[in-house]
């Protein structure tokens, strides 16, 4: 009997190892462990043995049964794995194919830079005010201390719309300064606002477009002086251009709506055709500013004997060009897809002071 067991064992294990697919393996199983299988057959013979032999042989047979079953399971797992490998090998794709395209949108530099400017001035406590593009002559000129025959008015290259009966011609605002007046009329000091927006002058060449963007700043309280104006602009310039200790030049100038008035230059270099802010011996004019003229305060309904403050106006397109190296102003408004994609910003790149204004 033991000899039989040994020979069946060798035979069955050999056939298990030789089974090439699950079906062949199942045949081996049936032939060994099935109702008519070899091992089952030996089990049936146990009844004819003496109790002692039965115990001994039974144990040997059970061992054999387990061993064969384990061998079948192992072989089965092996075969299944091989079959899976074969299937997966057949399912190979070309991973170098490009994925489904998704258009990348973009945010215009004017919008992005406006958001940057707002982030900085928000930190300094400025709110954001707005006003209409089509302005009343008075808001654009008269209230800003620019009377009818003032030479400065001629410099503005104003766009006009037809007048209504008995009225003065509406103008496209030539600067964001009328928002100063509207805001002063609607509020009481202390005031701190910036007013970004579209402005218009009938001028068109390499560096001028008939529409451009400005941001106006206005601070009115009882104590703000020229030193604050300088400090505020320094704080802005350093935050915006992300450069510490930018050299700045404050030149006396003239604007009808401020006294004293000054223009502000920042130090830069143009080495190798590349503009670098904050180093070098050249100067770039970036804004006009000054202490608000008493007549302007009066026009805004504010008592100039009690209140004072400063105002400034800066070109958004211009500082965008300087910061991001954009060469041509005219291209800003052409909506050329190539330009929008190249100079535009990612939708989720929201400028923040904690994360940095720009990548």
């Amino acid at each position: 009997m033991q000899n039989q067991i040994d020979s069946i064992k060798d035979d069955v294990l050999a056939r298990i190892a030789a089974a090439g697919d699950p079906r062949a393996l199942d045949e081996v199983r049936v032939e060994a462990l099935g109702k008519k299988g070899a091992i089952t057959g030996l089990m049936k013979q146990l009844g004819g043995l003496s109790p002692e032999e039965r115990r001994e042989t039974g144990a040997a047979l059970n061992l054999l049964k387990d061993e064969v079953a384990a061998a079948i399971d192992a072989r089965k797992a092996l075969l299944e794995r091989a079959a899976l490998d074969a299937r997966l090998a057949a399912e190979r794709i070309d991973v170098t194919l490009p994925p489904r395209p998704e258009a990348a949108g973009s945010v215009h530099p004017v919008s992005q830079v406006t958001d940057e400017v707002i982030a900085i001035f928000c930190e300094m406590g400025f709110a954001v005010a707005e006003g209409p593009d089509i302005e009343d002559d008075w808001y654009n000129f008269g209230a800003l201390n620019i009377p009818e025959e003032h030479p400065a008015r001629q410099d503005h290259d104003t766009f006009y719309l037809p007048a209504e009966e008995g009225e003065r011609r509406p103008v496209l605002r030539t600067h964001t300064s009328p928002v100063q007046i509207r805001h002063m009329q609607a509020s009481t000091p202390p005031l701190r606002i910036i007013a970004p927006g579209r402005t218009y002058r009938s001028d068109s060449d390499v560096t001028h477009t008939p529409m451009f963007h400005q941001v106006e700043g206005l601070v009115i309280d009882e104590t703000t002086h020229l030193g604050h104006l300088k400090g505020c602009l320094r704080d802005f310039v350093e935050a915006f251009f992300q450069v510490d200790n930018v050299p700045m030049r404050f030149r006396p100038s003239y604007f009808p709506f401020t006294a004293p008035s000054m223009e502000v230059d920042i130090g830069c270099s143009f080495k190798g055709g590349e503009l670098k802010i904050g180093e070098g011996d050249d100067w770039l004019e970036i804004l006009g500013s000054g202490m608000v003229h008493p007549n302007v305060l009066r026009a805004g309904g504010i008592d100039p004997d009690r209140y004072q403050g400063f105002a400034f106006g800066m070109g958004i397109d211009r500082i965008a060009m300087l910061k991001y190296g954009i060469p041509d102003l005219r291209a800003f408004f052409d909506a050329d897809l190539r330009w929008l994609r190249h100079y535009g910003f990612r939708a989720l790149d929201l400028p923040t002071l904690y994360g940095g204004l720009a990548r």
Binding site: E102, L161, P162, R198, L226, S253, F333, A335, L340
Partner: protein, 801 residues
């Protein structure tokens, strides 16, 4: 305004260098726009003596010259016919950049003879076109001297951007005065000693204005000259006039130009021999007044303009332009000079009407030093006699010399409270005195300030304070950060400003490119979109295709699409958030959120069949923008028929109740074609003001209730009349059980033979979410039956067999 360094030094006694002067000019608000140092470019050209000039051994037309440069003797090969032994010329050594030819000189061998430099012609030096020979200098010219210095070309030209308030700096003397105040030297005295006359002027003056218009010409001073010799003005004067951009004409004319540039005092000289009658007068224009200006152009006067006349009629515009008929020329022996005061506003208005900018206008419209007029006449008289000889009459004067001076009260304390810097009162008073102001202490905190007659820009106390600060130096003012109001900055954007930003980022995140385009479009384009009203048409557009304030953002985007398509970019998704104009009032401006798409929806790619963009793309964009700005998108209704610039069958309006929030769809093919764009193009537009702002509510979210029970999905296909709106079916399904049906998706639309003419089938999948317990099959069936019944009741649709 251009000045030269030498010219400046005629008024300013200074040892300061050009750089120091330019830095100071910038510091005090006289912006240096450019410095042209012609001497620097010619620095290596020196005077040389030709020791020997001999025939070149190998070339007929060349000469070999030994040149004494003052430092050494140099051999030069020269091709000029006038090169000769003993002459003095201009030498440039090897290494010199020759401005006239743009070549850098090198040592060379010319036909076998070494040449180590060049003797130059005027053309080679960039001075003129003269190239017949080399420059032949006078015998007494010092060898080795800088040629630029000899020729008077070493006088740097400084261009200053004078601000419109500073009429006084439209003369060299005014600039010198500012520099002196800033510590750059001393202002030299100006000699205004009266020049005695020797006879009565044969020409009389007349000012013919009524009381109302007296200011048009309030003063006219004249002097008659005879025995003049009007040749060219002297070289020193010509050089300076040329340097600042004026063409020398003749001594008499040059004197008037000199006066204008030097002391900002315009003057005019008449050839007295050409004057008709015995009177020169000023009056307002009359019909028929016309003349030929000194610039060769014909002009006509109107009754607002100040006219100078004689017995023959109009001679010129007062303060603006003289006439050809009485102009001085080389034959002039008798002259009559005009020094007058013309009204700034009238002069400016006249100049504007005529598009005429002259040096005289620039000064009169900004305001000249009025009480100085008689002194100016003396300066002119003295110069004319010096340059042209002859004798002068006693002055003739019409009108009054103004004597009144502007005074104002200024608080010295304002220097610090406005300027942010403490400047000692004595220092402030010294600055004002240097500028010609008189500041008398008349109280504890009060100056009575007398403003100098040449300053017309002192309208208020702050203007005087500015003078003190400006000259003391803005650089001296310490920078002070604005005091913080809150330790943590408060949010500053208004709800409207936030919505603009949300919409922008949402649309960009959908793959659209943000554009910023002009607020004006062409009238034709505006009309296609319901605009083009006369009230919104610019009176002075920059060009005909930018003349109307846009009624919508779509025409701008369509024009942009057309431009991009023309460049070969067919797939585009553009949006803009910008103003549109329904009228001219401040409340008529709207913020439009508009977008367009064209070409293939996802471009061409291997994963899917190409699909052109369609109205549903635009609808999705509109809904995404509405969602971003906080509109309740799930409650919106869609109705067909957007405005007429859309395809009538492929456009719609998104509404909240009766309120239209957005339009979307395919653009009308006729509109697309009219704008030179290739369709189909789809787009949407939202006017921000039309979308109600969500009511202020808590930022806390409603509590999330999560059901522990499995959701159940059921599909239905309904057969409907083809014209039933899908939205009606969806609303009916939703209405069947608002609590249990949590999701509805429409996943198939079918129209075809199997359904029959005029029918369609819509397949809808619903998600039923039990809340209290698992639902039984019977309950689910009952709900399904409710859905079918609701659809049938509201739409007539039946379950597809």
């Amino acid at each position: 305004m251009k000045i030269t360094l030498d010219w400046l030094k005629r008024h300013l006694d200074t040892t300061a260098s050009l750089e120091e002067i330019c830095a100071a000019l910038n510091r005090i608000g006289l912006e240096v726009e450019g410095v042209e140092d012609r001497g620097a470019a010619l620095a290596s050209f020196t005077v040389a003596y030709v020791v020997k000039a001999e025939q070149h051994p190998n070339a007929d037309k060349l000469r070999v010259c030994i040149v004494d440069t003052g430092k050494e003797e140099v051999q030069v090969v020269c091709g000029a016919p006038n090169a000769r032994t003993g002459m003095k010329g201009v030498f440039a050594p090897a290494g010199t950049h020759v401005p006239g030819t743009g070549i850098d000189l090198k040592e060379s061998e010319i036909r076998g003879v070494a040449s180590r430099g060049m003797l130059c012609s005027e053309r080679e030096m960039g001075l003129s076109d003269e190239h017949d020979g080399i420059i032949d200098l006078p015998e007494d010219t010092p060898v080795g001297a800088s040629f630029a210095a000899i020729a008077g070309l070493d006088d740097p030209v400084i261009e200053i951007g004078v601000t419109p308030d500073r009429g006084d700096c439209f003369g060299v003397r005014g600039i010198a005065r500012d520099l002196a105040a800033a510590g750059l030297g001393t202002l030299k005295p100006l000699d205004t000693t009266p020049v005695p006359g020797s006879f009565e002027s044969p020409i009389k003056l007349s000012l013919d204005f009524d009381a109302e218009n007296k200011s048009a010409c309030s003063l006219f001073i004249g002097r008659y000259f005879r025995g003049l010799k009007n040749g060219p003005s002297p070289a020193w004067m010509q050089r300076k006039l040329i340097a600042v951009g004026l063409r020398p004409i003749s001594a008499l004319v040059d004197v008037t130009n000199w006066l204008t540039m030097d002391i900002g005092r315009p003057a005019h000289i008449y050839d007295a021999g050409k004057v008709t009658g015995d009177t020169i007068g000023a009056r307002l224009g009359r019909p028929g007044d016309r003349f030929e200006g000194l610039n060769g152009k014909e002009y006509e006067a109107d009754p607002e303009m100040t006219v100078i006349y004689d017995g023959s009629g109009m001679l010129g515009f007062g303060g603006l332009l003289g006439g050809e008929s009485t102009g001085a020329d080389e034959n002039t022996t008798d002259g009559f000079i005009e020094i007058a005061l013309f009204d700034p506003i009238r002069t400016a208005a006249t100049g504007r009407k005529l598009s005429l900018v002259t040096d005289a206008r620039q000064r009169f419209e900004r305001g000249v030093d009025e009480p100085f007029a008689p002194d100016g006449a003396e300066v002119a008289t003295k110069l004319i006699l010096e340059l042209c000889g002859g004798e002068v009459s006693y002055p003739v004067v019409a009108g009054e010399v103004p004597t009144e001076r502007q005074t104002m009260t200024v608080r010295p304390s304002r220097v610090e409270s406005l300027g942010g810097i403490a400047i000692p009162r004595e220092r402030a008073e010294a600055i004002l005195a240097d500028l010609g102001f008189k500041a008398e202490r008349t109280g504890e905190d009060a100056w009575t300030v007398t403003v100098p007659s040449w300053r017309h820009d002192m309208a208020c106390e702050a203007d005087v304070i500015e003078e003190v600060l400006r000259i003391h130096g803005f650089d001296e003012i310490a920078m002070v950060s604005l005091p913080r109001e809150n330790a943590v900055a408060r949010p500053v954007l208004s709800p409207r400003q936030r919505r603009v930003r949300w919409a922008r980022r949402a649309l960009a995140a959908r793959g659209m490119n943000e554009a910023v385009t002009y607020s004006f479009v062409s009238a034709d384009h505006a009309r296609l979109f319901g605009g083009g009203a006369a009230a919104l048409t610019l009176e002075n557009p920059i060009s005909a295709d930018m003349d109307v304030m846009r009624p919508s953002g779509l025409p701008s985007l369509l024009a942009a699409a057309s431009r991009n398509q023309a460049r070969g970019f067919a797939e585009l998704a553009l949006f803009e958030i910008g103003p549109v104009y329904l009228g001219t009032g401040p409340d008529d401006q709207r913020m439009a959120v508009a977008g367009i798409r064209a070409g293939l929806a996802n471009g061409r790619n291997w994963t899917a069949r190409p699909r052109p963009v369609d109205a549903y793309d635009a609808k999705a964009d509109a809904m995404a923008a509405l969602d971003a700005i906080g509109a309740p998108v799930e409650n919106l209704q869609t109705t067909a028929y957007a405005p007429e610039w859309f395809h009538p069958g492929r456009s719609g309006v998104l509404r909240l109740g009766p309120k239209a929030l957005a339009v979307f769809g395919e653009l009308h093919p006729a509109v697309t074609r009219a704008m030179d764009a290739d369709g189909p193009l789809v787009g949407f537009e939202i006017l921000l003001e039309d979308v109600p702002e969500p009511k202020a509510k808590t930022v806390a979210r409603p509590k999330l209730e999560l059901s522990p029970y499995q959701p159940v999905r059921r599909d239905f296909a309904f057969v409907l009349e083809a014209d039933v709106a899908a939205e009606k079916v969806l609303r009916a399904v939703k209405g069947a059980d608002r609590q249990l049906i949590t999701e509805i998706s429409l996943f198939d639309v079918y129209q075809g033979e199997r359904l029959g003419e005029g029918k369609k089938s819509l397949a809808v999948s619903i998600t039923i979410q039990p809340v209290a317990r698992t639902m039984t099959d019977e309950e689910i069936e009952a709900l399904a039956a409710k859905v079918v019944a609701a659809v049938e009741k509201h739409t007539g649709g039946v379950l597809r067999a």
